[in-house]
Symmetry: C2
Subunit: 157 residues, 2 copies
């Protein structure tokens, strides 16, 4: 049994896996006659020859352990929480190498965009009925690979 300790999500730590979608650290611009601020370009959405798929997820808590790792070779996948509650992000460089796993605690105002081919755990939430908006790819082709971890990995908050 390996223990994987979660650390706070930061753009720097997450950079090998994609982007953190968040207001912090971005440079807002004022728009809409002064009635709104906007931060642009928060995710590199890459759907190749596919279409952009906007979807909604509703997740429920699952055991704090790595059940399976997955990746999407044909496109990026962005998640942003629709309530201001923390959630978890687990990624790895190689799902068969326990030492390559990272766990992050994301705030309810942080989303992530997994780059194409980045191994990540399916949605990990801490509260019932946790809703997310997801921007990824639809279209033909095999866009899902799944691998089990080589030994049990528990996630420690």
């Amino acid at each position: 049994m390996t223990e994987l300790r979660a650390t706070p999500l930061t753009p720097e730590d997450f950079a090998p896996f994609g982007e953190v979608i968040a207001w912090e650290g971005a440079q807002p611009i004022t728009i809409n006659q002064g009635y709104a601020q906007r931060v642009n370009g928060l995710a590199r959405v890459d759907v190749g020859e596919g279409l952009v798929n906007v979807s909604l997820f509703a997740g429920k808590p699952r055991p704090l352990a790595v059940a399976v790792m997955e990746r999407h070779p044909l496109g990026s996948q962005a998640f942003y929480p629709l309530q201001d509650r923390p959630w978890l992000v687990v990624v790895c460089g190689n799902p068969r190498d326990t030492g390559s796993y990272r766990a992050f605690t994301a705030s309810g105002r942080q989303g992530v965009n997994y780059a194409p081919n980045v191994w990540h755990h399916p949605l990990l939430v801490l509260d019932a009925q946790s809703r997310f908006i997801v921007v990824d790819r639809s279209g033909p082709g095999a866009n899902l690979e799944e691998v089990l971890p080589p030994e049990p990995i528990s996630i420690v908050l």
Copy 2:
């Protein structure tokens, strides 16, 4: 002075302008080993030759009147609220034709995707610090047109 009365946002009423992004009416699928439900394909994101731009907005309330109408000829623009609070959507077929305007009250669990070239009002929120995630287009080209209404139009809730 024209009064424009807002009606509840429905996919049917909004269809000429784009899509309503919402759980209601969609067919969820169960994913992630049973720990999540997902509804797919909620917006036709069209960025032409551009890139998909994921951004965050923070809006503040403005007078309940039509200040200006805008459209984006080169791409769609989707808004989804990040807190469960109602907000307003104002669209029109022709900004110079007062009779073509429509106002909708959206719930905090309804987003919209404006199709390319659809005239719409800039973000209209009812509460301070109303945050949204926006999926639209970035890239070269003139992607913003603005037109003033021909006479004052007040929005009535």
